[in-house]
């Protein structure tokens, strides 16, 4: 099975063409378009926004509110849309309801069964608490995110640098998503991260931190973040080099009848070798993904 590489997901306002255009020209792996509920623009114009957003090779999602799944999906899911970013769902029934409407949309658009994905955005404590159940409702759910801005609103906390009220919730999202075979995607409240200043270095630092908590990608608040987010979730040249060394040293050790050896004082055994293998596979998958985008 092909490794899913969707590191950056740029969320943009789709009320005008500028957001979609900027997102489409960014290096984003995915773009989520947020249409206003009272957006009744002509269909060709809406189709064009989707086309522009995906012009750079990004997968295109449209944001759908759980309380308006029927209306949102039937109007927003159109040619070129890869999936919905479902926000506000707290129960399995709400996800099943979205799935039923997606099925109708797939038939209408003559799309293969299962081709429209659900990016599940958890936006309340209840949803985070119920994640183990929610992520397993539909095979269409491949990625899960916890909208920490919505969570902050729900907690009634004002974001402050250096104070992180979401460590536990974040850990739950990572563990339960991976246990269910889904990818957890970070959606951090930027203001809570002490070291993040605006600019590429800060975004890269934040993305790297999220990667090292187990997230596989990050929601990006701006198209100009996409490159740094991609870099944060792509193995660095140093990681690739070290992983290659681990694989070589471990293979030599196994051939010599040992499966625990040392590199610079660190213990190398089966899980370390397997992790090195996954790092190299991810690096190759990221390179392939970036190459496909560049060829557009």
């Amino acid at each position: 099975m092909t490794m899913l590489v969707r590191r950056s997901n740029v969320v943009v306002n789709a009320s005008g063409p500028a957001g979609a255009l900027a997102a489409g020209q960014s290096l984003a792996d995915a773009v989520t378009l947020v249409f206003s509920p009272d957006d009744h623009r002509p269909e060709p114009e809406a189709n064009d926004i989707v086309r522009v957003a995906g012009a750079g090779g990004a997968e295109v999602f449209v944001q759908v509110q759980a309380e308006r799944v029927e209306e949102d999906i039937s109007t927003l899911v159109r040619p070129g849309v890869n999936g919905i970013a479902l926000t506000g769902a707290e129960t399995a029934e709400e996800i099943r309801a979205a799935e039923a409407v997606i099925l109708v949309a797939e038939r209408k658009l003559r799309r293969p069964f299962g081709s429209i994905e659900i990016l599940l955005i958890l936006s309340s404590p209840r949803a985070v608490w119920s994640i183990a159940q929610l992520v397993r409702v539909s095979a269409r759910v491949r990625q899960v995110s916890c909208d920490e801005t919505a969570l902050a609103r729900s907690f009634g906390v004002a974001p402050q640098p250096g104070i992180d009220p979401f460590e536990f919730a974040r850990g739950r999202v990572v563990i339960e998503s991976i246990a269910a075979g889904r990818q957890p995607i970070a959606s951090p409240v930027l203001a809570m991260c002490p070291h993040v200043a605006p600019g590429r270095a800060g975004v890269l630092e934040l993305a790297t931190r999220m990667k090292n908590l187990g997230f596989k990608g990050m929601v990006s608040a701006s198209p100009c973040w996409a490159g740094a987010v991609n870099d944060g979730f792509t193995p660095t040249p140093a990681e690739v080099e070290y992983s290659s060394t681990v694989r070589r040293v471990f293979a030599e050790a196994v051939a010599a009848g040992r499966a625990a050896v040392g590199i610079a004082g660190k213990m190398i055994d089966v899980p370390v070798d397997k992790r090195a293998q996954t790092v190299l596979e991810l690096a190759a998958a990221c390179t392939a993904r970036d190459s496909r985008k560049r060829s557009r």
């Binding site: 183990a132 990572v174 196994v254 625990a260 040392g262 610079a264 899980p271 992790r275």
Partner: protein, 316 residues
């Protein structure tokens, strides 16, 4: 809490490395973990199984209690090879479901009967090493009365499953190890491998780091630790053993227990210290733990002395 034997240092060693196994008695560790899993190459697994029966006796000569880490892919085959008199505990790695532990329990019962081992004496430590294991931690820990130790939620396999770096110096496993520890404590098991302590080097022989880690373990209520290198063993033993000052302070608290019983309020003040029921209970536990450590250390010393007597010139 179902207390395990004193296990401040549980030293892993590949059972296929005979020089490690024959030297195990010199290491001073409270327990030896004979490994059939990740430190044994796949093509040597079958051979490794044939070595365990003898290795149990060899490794135990220094007074350590003996554990075996089996493979999650060949549980019954491994158990059949490792359950012999002298085995104290089986580590079931990558535990993800309660039924896996029930399976080990049933197999142990049958093998104990067949091999004249007192029924129910071999314990199980289910290791939580995947996200799926974390989600089912409580059920796994509760699956058998043989589970005396429980924990995990961090480490190399967890790093693999989550796709995170091991030695970032920050707590990437907070949720997983927290869940595992909570399940363990809720069920009265000995929590193990559940503490975060910053480590940016990953050096397995770093005695200074091991000492600081062990002292933190002790202060957080943990009594067990594992080691991947003999160089960490002494540091772990010393760091987790109550110091003379701690023992003296505990005795001082216990000496005032009678005053507490007569106090109108639920606490008294002595030497600038507030003493209440919690402090008394903690002092009592510390004294018991210190005595257990001393008893185990004395047993190890006797075992080592016997070995040196038997083999002059072989002192550790």
């Amino acid at each position: 809490v179902t207390r395990t034997p004193v296990a401040r240092s549980m030293l892993y060693m590949p059972v296929v490395e005979r020089r490690f196994v024959t030297a195990a008695w010199r290491r001073g560790s409270d327990a030896i973990i004979l490994d059939l899993e990740d430190s044994v190459p796949p093509h040597l697994k079958a051979h490794a199984r044939t070595l365990v029966k003898e290795a149990i006796g060899l490794a135990a000569r220094g007074g350590a209690w003996i554990c075996v880490r089996i493979n999650s892919e060949s549980v019954l085959e491994d158990l059949d090879a490792v359950v012999w008199p002298g085995l104290d505990l089986v580590i079931r790695p990558k535990a993800e479901h309660a039924v896996e532990i029930s399976e080990v329990d049933a197999a142990l019962s049958g093998l104990e009967r067949a091999r004249s081992i007192e029924p129910g004496t071999i314990a199980i430590w289910p290791l939580i090493e995947t996200a799926a294991g974390v989600t089912n931690a409580y059920e796994i820990a509760a699956a058998s009365d043989r589970v005396t130790m429980f924990g995990g939620g961090q480490g190399y396999d967890m790093s693999l499953d989550l796709g995170v770096a091991m030695f970032g110096g920050f707590d990437q496993f907070l949720y997983g190890r927290g869940e595992a520890e909570l399940a363990s404590r809720a069920l009265g098991k000995e929590p193990a491998n559940c503490l975060f302590y910053p480590d940016e080097s990953g050096e397995v022989a770093d005695a200074a780091w091991a000492r600081a880690y062990a002292e933190t373990l002790k202060s957080c209520g943990f009594r067990t630790s594992t080691a991947l290198h003999p160089g960490a063993v002494d540091a772990l033993n010393q760091g987790m053993t109550p110091t003379p000052a701690e023992i003296e302070a505990a005795r001082s608290v216990l000496a005032r227990e009678g005053h507490l019983a007569l106090a109108e309020e639920g606490w008294i003040e002595a030497g600038g210290q507030v003493i209440d029921c919690y402090e008394v209970d903690r002092a009592r536990r510390l004294i018991e733990w210190a005595q257990a450590c001393a008893t185990h250390d004395a047993a190890k010393d006797r075992a080592v002395a016997a070995m040196v007597d038997a083999e002059p010139g072989s002192a550790p």
